[in-house]
Symmetry: C3
Subunit: 430 residues, 3 copies
């Protein structure tokens, strides 16, 4: 399929629209984000109360923030939440006081090696407060007493996440998960959200084989909450993909599931190799995004992660430089295309059983041979039929056939359809 | 074993003698071919009636042809079956008519890219008629009315194939199969027939372990017929080799069975590697010769295929250039030698169980050590005994021992014989 | 652990002290050797009577020798056991006679290609006598009658071997075996004995997990005797190492067990690779030292062999040039260090089961995260914890974790300890 014209621009516009919202692992910024996503896709939004036990964790208090600033001795706001929500340490407790710069410094976070950038920092589970600012701004501050104010609340409330389901022909599910907890960071993870939205819109135009479930949830605690509330559904999750850092200019990176040989791993490796995109395939590691949770040994799901430059691999990572200019329509379109290609394989990748396995069946008498003529694509179609017949022993999938025959997956899938219609193969094991 | 002097010339003489006969998948040309082979080897010839159901196929009507030609407006035979049986499309229905060249062209087959050569074409299952000729002959034909005559019959009859069996010490079988359906093509497959004949003659001089069954049958429908009539015997077929394109000047090519790790695959890979012949080992593909049928997923036999330049891989393939000059005594001798070497390994490649597996048995007290002295071949023989003892756990074969020890298979097999005679190992699992 | 200062010199002193003793597969030279070793380590010495059936072998008569020489026609001792015990063919029967040089030659062994060196030869199971001498000495002998005398006894007695056990926390055993049957050869195997002694002394300072059993026994017949008398204990032998040729200046060589993927094989490969020592890892072969017996197919123990230049791989092998100058304190220290490093991994290499396998457990609330700060070693410690949690499914060992994470084994083991103390993992399968 050719990329849909304009989808890159639409994804970028979504990134820009979501960018100013102050997301965290809970709070109204998440709700506002899901409201915007909900304009693109019907969402089922879940609110999970503070204190709910979720696996080994507990849903924390909800954090909301209205304003925050540091004013210098002259009363000028030198650090201002209104300018960028990165300026406040995520989950800062409220504060309203005045203190000398020397004392304030203990609450200030900078990046000495990137003096013009504001870092992104949080403290979800250790109550404290802080500000993030550019080192060069800090360096210019005169000594003196500073007014410090964070107008935030930490109170019982809810953790908010959302799901969108594209129903398939079977109840077996593919999950697509992206984290929604980062404030003004574009690649991490507004680009992932935007790609997920477009992917869901495209799938809704089809009747896919699998049921596709899109999960928009805060990182770690959100995925853990979803898993805790879906322990039975997990048995139906056949495959999954975590989308993160989906929009920068780097090449595509697929991080394999913990299993390493899950079908999603094979599909992504195949699609990326066949497409001749420059790309990288990485082994699983137990750090990164929510594949950590889906692939924890108790679940061990076949969930990989697709990124461009991966987790923590670019200098703009977790800084104010990860802004909408850092992500491009073209990069997001390419990530979307890779997902589209992967799901086109995954969704048709079935095992068949040859119903005429003793010798070759006579294709000619079924009109599967005569009609072929001598054209090169007809010859390829015939080879694809012979390959599908040869390997349809209930063990090999169509992807196995494609890889072993070096034929395009699509050619193989079309051949399988023809053979199935002719009654020569049936889906499933013997 | 050194090659038998003169066997190459004898094989080439057989190719030349068989070359003029008009073979097809049925008919008297096949019978005449088997008569000649029968002068070299006792054959059991089978006649299977038209209409017999064989697996998914049906034995077709028998085709015979006496004469065929095209005469130009001046009455000269410009295309004549008497000159080469390739000139007639195989299985052509009879025709006796006159038609203008323009109309006749629809029944003419040429090779525009090889204008001096006559192609080989057939239409077994779609009733039609046609002639094959050189493009340059066609180009020289004047317009006008041409007399066209094919004196053929298509009638109920039989499909003919033959078997030759070299009895072994066990009922387990090795099959050697070659197709007999091509008319005047030398490499494809008179060379294969000639190598099979010489191989059978050599094996008959021995008392091999396995029973060796040579199958001379038309391609596809013949192998399918054999399989259909031998469904119980198939369980006894342990290994097999399809011989085709066995005489051209190219290097040896072994095409592995569908299983890829069948014992025949390992044996051929070993023998070709050890011999230091230039050669190629190819993966299984579901097109080629009758390995397609033997390796169909219902049977999935350990049957590979040995060729020189493989199936469709040379410009002379299926043309009048595949004539006796295209195959050489030396090439056929080399193919025969490779078969001989492979069967020498296969036939002795057994698993043993060490009857004294706790610690090394004392070789000296059994005279297996003292007699060795310090000669290098004696040292190798002793190492071979230690290797056989070490790996005779009922799982490793002598070929495993040879490969792991890097000792010649023959040395290993001789060591195993000595250990067996000394009562230190026994054939088979624990 | 840093190498213990001076251990190399102590090992070399032990080699020098043991060097003059005339060891064989039985006899007082073995006892004297074990007396010296017993000064370093408490030993349990076993005496097994002549005639005892041990697996396929029988304990031979005991050999002792007091004196031996060849005197030339002038009465000068031209070959003298008192100068080097290598001069007598091991297990020589007694002889006292005079014979012309021509006749004597049949009993003389030399190394024509190394004319200055005395070879080491034995004839344990074929009764005969002989002398070993330098070719250049032989060449200088005048014709004439020579007095020949070997004052030896071959009589019923015992085969002597010894064990030293370092008790562990579990009854599962690691054996360290070295052969004690070679007379004045330093690398083969006094260096192995010396390294084993130091290794045992170090282990005795710890409370290792495994019970470590050091076996000092004659080659082949000694290992066979130990195995025959310990058939029940063998089931508790989890791992083992044969130490031989442990002191020459060559690089370390690890020869894998017959299984090739035994835990000891993986540990040695890992330790040698990580240490960045130049080294070699060899496949198992059924010749060499007593790994032959431990790895015989009936036992098939996970026993590898650690050497420097391996068995028969150096020109000094089995000659008078394998003297104390041929082995160095530094080389023995390095071999000892490799053993120490390997056993440090082996002894802690356990499988764990994650007790909180659904999602990641919250490390912070258990103090496993907060305390980390931002130091690089703290980050590594945290990654190690995540890796251990991810792979603790009862199947992966800590070595698997170290290899997959590319983290040092020690870091992984420390992380596992912390997780175990926090109740997040338990030893063993699920």
């Amino acid at each position: 399929m050719a990329p849909v014209t304009g989808v890159g621009d639409r994804m970028h516009a979504l990134v820009e629209r979501l960018y100013p919202l102050c997301r965290s692992i809970t709070g109204d910024g998440v709700r506002a984000t899901l409201d915007v996503v909900g304009e693109c896709l019907p969402l089922e939004v879940h609110e999970v109360p503070t204190g709910t036990q979720v696996l080994d964790w507990t849903v924390p208090q909800e954090w909301n923030i209205r304003d925050a600033y540091i004013a210098d001795p002259a009363g000028r706001r030198v650090v201002d939440f209104a300018a960028s929500n990165l300026h406040v340490l995520g989950y800062s407790v409220p504060v309203a006081t005045t203190m000398p710069l020397a004392e304030l410094r203990e609450h200030l976070h900078t990046l000495p090696d990137q003096p013009a950038l504001v870092p992104y920092r949080t403290s979800y589970y250790t109550p404290t407060w802080g500000f993030c600012l550019a080192q060069e701004v800090l360096d210019a501050l005169p000594e003196g007493d500073y007014e410090v104010r964070i107008d935030s609340t930490l109170a019982d409330g809810h953790l908010t996440y959302a799901e969108h389901v594209v129903p398939g022909q079977v109840a077996d599910e593919v999950i697509v998960s992206c984290h929604t907890c980062h404030p003004s960071l574009a690649n991490d993870n507004l680009a992932g959200i935007a790609v997920a939205v477009s992917l869901a819109q495209e799938l809704a135009q089809q009747t896919p084989w699998y049921t596709y479930r899109f999960i928009f949830a805060p990182g770690t605690i959100g995925a853990i909450t979803w898993l805790a509330r879906n322990t039975e559904r997990v048995d139906r999750v056949r495959h999954g993909l975590v989308l993160a850092c989906a929009g920068d200019r780097g090449q595509l990176t697929y991080k394999q599931s913990r299993r390493g040989d899950a079908e999603i791993d094979r599909v992504l490796r195949h699609v990326l190799a066949v497409s001749e995109r420059p790309h990288q395939v990485n082994e699983f590691t137990p750090y990164g995004y929510d594949e950590r949770q889906y692939c924890s040994p108790g679940f061990d799901l076949g969930v990989g992660s697709l990124s461009r430059t991966p987790y923590a691999g670019y200098p703009e990572y977790h800084t104010s430089a990860d802004n909408p200019d850092f992500v491009t329509p073209e990069a997001m379109e390419d990530t979307l295309a890779a997902c589209r290609e992967a799901f086109a394989v995954l969704d048709r990748n079935r095992r068949y059983t040859n119903l005429s396995p003793y010798g070759e069946p006579q294709l000619g008498k079924r009109g599967l041979y005569d009609s072929l003529g001598g054209r090169s694509d007809a010859k390829q179609a015939q080879m694809a039929m012979l390959w599908v017949l040869s390997l349809s022993d209930g063990e090999h999938s169509l992807l196995d056939v494609a890889e072993r025959s070096a034929l395009p997956f699509d050619t193989v899938a079309v051949a399988a359809d023809a053979l199935r219609e002719a009654g020569l193969i049936k889906a499933g094991g013997g």
